[in-house]
């Protein structure tokens, strides 16, 4: 059975701190690793990582995939209170039919 594990499950930081969220995966017929941000409602897409070692960046957020170690990290620099959310990591299998999620990391950024 496919499995995605995220750590830490919960993180509390102060504004301006840098955080690193971790994600390990065991996905049969793995194709890509996805990161989502979930505030109150729908998960919103952040990154899709398919190739190993290539960093993707969007503003203060960046992410990288290690397909040898079956691992990905999401970095957020200079955190802001608006970054407070649950960050979800998910493994996509080859056909695109199944996206398996981890439990998520609850990030709280205090002023």
């Amino acid at each position: 059975e496919d499995k995605v594990v995220q750590s830490p499950l919960s993180l509390v930081v102060h504004e301006g701190d840098t955080v690193t969220l971790n994600c390990s995966y065991e996905v049969t017929n793995f194709r890509s690793l996805l990161w989502y941000k979930q505030e109150k409602k729908a998960p919103t897409f952040l990154f899709m990582l398919t190739s190993s070692g290539i960093e993707k960046k969007s503003g203060r957020l960046s992410s990288i995939l290690d397909k040898k170690e079956l691992f990905s990290i999401l970095n957020i620099t200079a955190t802001q209170t608006g970054d407070s959310a649950v960050y979800l990591c998910a493994g996509l299998e080859t056909s695109g039919s199944r996206l398996t999620f981890g439990e998520g990391t609850q990030l709280t950024v205090n002023p």
């Binding site: 194709r31 890509s32 996805l34 979930q38 409602k41 729908a42 998960p43 919103t44 897409f45 899709m48 649950v86 979800l88 998910a90 996509l92 056909s95 695109g96 039919s97 199944r98 996206l99 398996t100 999620f101 439990e103 998520g104 609850q106």
Partner: protein
Amino acid sequence: DTAVSQTPKYLVTQMGNDKSIKCEQNLGHDTMYWYKQDSKKFLKIMFSYNNKELIINETVPNRFSPKSPDKAHLNLHINSLELGDSAVYFCASSQDGREGYTFGSGTRLTVV
């Protein structure tokens, strides 16, 4: 315009009732999904449909029956609702997962 829309947003009902949740996507995607998010925020796939054909059916009680009248719609009907069915149900769509999945805003189902 909303890309993936679900109705209703909230649903409170008594045990034993039958209810439906509707989902529509206007992205032209071929594949649609239902996910259940429990109180611990864990998102688990329930069903996946590609061009109206069921391709994934996880271990879900047969009280849950998805129906896809066309590739833009995927509805979820639930019979004989139980307390444990209380959760947020998300609909999503993708084009073979190529650019990730797009999620609807969720339906919070509370069974009392």
